[in-house]
């Protein structure tokens, strides 16, 4: 992105107090750039859905400002809402409507003139065209999820919120969804999704945010995050069994496997020096030989769990 370009979504000092005093969002500050895919991770009740609901106009903010493409979500609600599409977490559909008519309704509701051609395009892209005359109640859960996405796309939004888009859908459909998200990104749509599936964020997001207890505790480029916070482990398969880690190697905090045949060295990928060279030299000095070695990197899931535990 051009650094001069204004963010498509800007949240400043956003707070949300529910009646009873519960604070669901605490001083949220966030910029999302045009064409990005941002994944918001967080445990249940962290504030992900509240954040999305405020931006979409479903929940009133207590304080702070939110702008979409430079327009305030309260003062210029028509401008902001007409460019936002929302796929809710729950499978809430008008059971007695047909797939086609529910899209016609959604498009009209968002102020767009009728366009059967565009609706056909959306339905075809989501493999729903052959179901266009079916009542929604007759569709499977996965198909209903697609209908919700189609409804959200029916008014040609430039910002799309997907609240747990793949919750409860099978692996194939999840992969299809990821493909759809990538295609939308290619068309220039900005996508903000909440998810419980770290794999999902790892797979499709450009940036990852972590929300816990109503606070954004991290917002980082996914690759940088993986590199910055991802722990690496060097696993050495020993030639001879060890009963204990030699005292001379104590500084490396090595872990010895139960059978005494593996040494595990944990290091971060952050620093310039990993300590591997020194470790190798010291192993040689200590007379510990190994016949194989490999490294593993911690997943986003582990990073996420660590962050949430730390912030809690």
């Amino acid at each position: 992105m051009n650094s001069d370009e204004k963010p498509i979504l800007r949240i400043k000092g956003l707070n949300k107090f529910y009646s009873g005093g519960f604070q669901a969002l605490k001083d949220i500050n966030l910029d999302i750039n045009k064409g990005e895919i941002v994944a918001l991770l967080g445990p249940n009740g962290a504030g992900k859905t509240t954040l999305i609901s405020v931006v979409c106009g479903i929940v009133n903010p207590s304080s702070g400002t939110v702008t979409v493409d430079g327009n305030d979500i309260i003062k210029d609600f028509r401008k902001t809402r007409s460019v936002i599409g929302l796929v809710p977490q729950e499978l809430t559909t008008d059971s007695f409507e047909t797939v086609f008519s529910t899209l016609v309704f959604s498009r009209g509701l968002f102020g767009k003139p009728p366009s059967p051609t565009y609706i056909e395009k959306v339905l075809r892209s989501l493999s729903l065209w052959d179901k266009k005359d079916d009542m929604i109640m007759t569709l499977s859960g996965g198909m209903k999820r697609r209908v919700l996405i189609a409804k959200a796309l029916s008014h040609e939004p430039t910002v799309l919120f997907l609240d747990e888009p793949t919750a409860g859908v099978d692996v194939n459909l999840r992969k299809d969804m990821w493909e759809i998200v990538r295609e939308l990104k290619a068309e220039g749509v900005t996508i903000i999704l909440t998810t419980h599936y770290i794999e999902e964020a790892e797979e499709i997001a450009d940036r990852v945010g972590v929300i816990n207890n109503g606070e954004i505790i991290l917002m980082e480029d996914k690759d940088k995050l993986m590199a910055k916070l991802g722990k690496k482990q060097l696993i050495l398969d020993l030639c001879d069994q060890l009963s204990a880690v030699p005292q001379s190697m104590a500084d490396y905090k090595l872990e010895l496997s139960e059978n005494g045949m593996q040494l595990v060295y944990t290091f971060t990928a952050q620093g310039d020096r990993t300590g591997i060279t020194a470790l190798m030299d010291d192993l040689k000095l200590a007379g510990i030989a190994f016949r194989d070695l490999n490294t593993t990197q911690s997943s986003l899931e582990e990073i996420f769990v660590n962050l949430v535990e730390e912030s809690s």
Partner: protein, 253 residues
């Protein structure tokens, strides 16, 4: 103004009527016919005239008012309550539609359905009695204003209700008794005191009286008073609806 948004809500609500044609149209027609058979033919044959009009003809405005009130309320309240109940209301709340546009869509559809029903009842009544309408334009004004006002009232009820019991309790326990006690099927002159005076505190009496005047030029209260009451009620409802959306009461947390 989001005309497409208004039309989307309006058409959606009207389509719901098509799906429930028996419940929406056929049932009220059958019920009205039964009223004419029971009150008009069976009981009415033993009552000579009320205020100089045959009993069968006398009850027509009351029957229309009964159906207008109950159906305006039920159509509008169900229209907004059901999306809340199933969760699809998120779409309306996140759409670029203003309070006025949402109200025009939902209340417009509910009022349209009630007016269509009123006309169907009028046509049904014509099969049973020789119907005469002295002031057809004023009749339409009363029918329209009543349908709009009580659709607004139903809309408020639908927003307020958080279960099906609340949704039906007001029409059942408040509106129906008020209609029955509001001179729909009798003239309040026939009541002994103090009931005659008490009846004048019933707002429905003013509606029925006004509508009956447009048919037969007889009324229990002045026509202007009837018009004024329905207009006041309509503006009060509009004010409440505006407040509900402004504050997000039971819609936006």
């Amino acid at each position: 103004m989001n005309i497409y948004g208004i039309m989307a809500i309006y058409k959606f609500e009207m389509a719901r009527t098509k799906r429930t044609l028996v419940q929406s149209i056929v049932a009220p027609v059958i019920t009205t016919s039964l009223y004419f058979i029971v009150f008009g033919a069976a009981i009415g044959s033993r009552i000579d005239q009320v205020s100089g009009i045959s009993y069968g003809a006398f009850i027509v405005p009351g029957l229309i008012m009964l159906n207008l009130l109950t159906h305006s309320i039920s159509n509008a309240s169900f229209g907004i309550y059901f999306p809340k109940f199933v969760g699809t209301v998120y779409e309306m709340l996140s759409a670029p539609v203003s309070t006025l546009e949402v109200v025009l869509g939902y209340v417009g559809a509910a009022a349209s359905k009630a007016v269509i029903l009123g006309i169907i009842i009028l046509i049904t009544a014509n099969f049973f009695i020789d119907l005469q309408i002295a002031h057809p334009i004023m009749m339409m004004v009363f029918i329209l204003l009543t349908a709009i006002s009580f659709s607004l009232f139903g809309f408020i009820l639908g927003i307020w209700a958080d279960n099906f019991e609340k949704l039906s309790i007001v029409p059942m326990l408040l509106v129906t008794p008020l209609v029955f006690l509001g001179g729909s099927f009798y003239s309040t002159d026939m009541l002994p005191e103090p009931w005659q005076t008490i009846s004048h505190f019933n707002p429905v009496l003013y509606l029925v009286s006004g509508l009956r005047w447009s048919f037969y030029e007889i009324s229990e209260v002045s026509v202007m008073l009837s018009l004024a009451s329905i207009l006041i009620f309509m503006f009060v409802c509009l004010g409440v609806v505006y407040y509900l959306f402004k504050t997000g009461y039971k819609l936006r947390s």
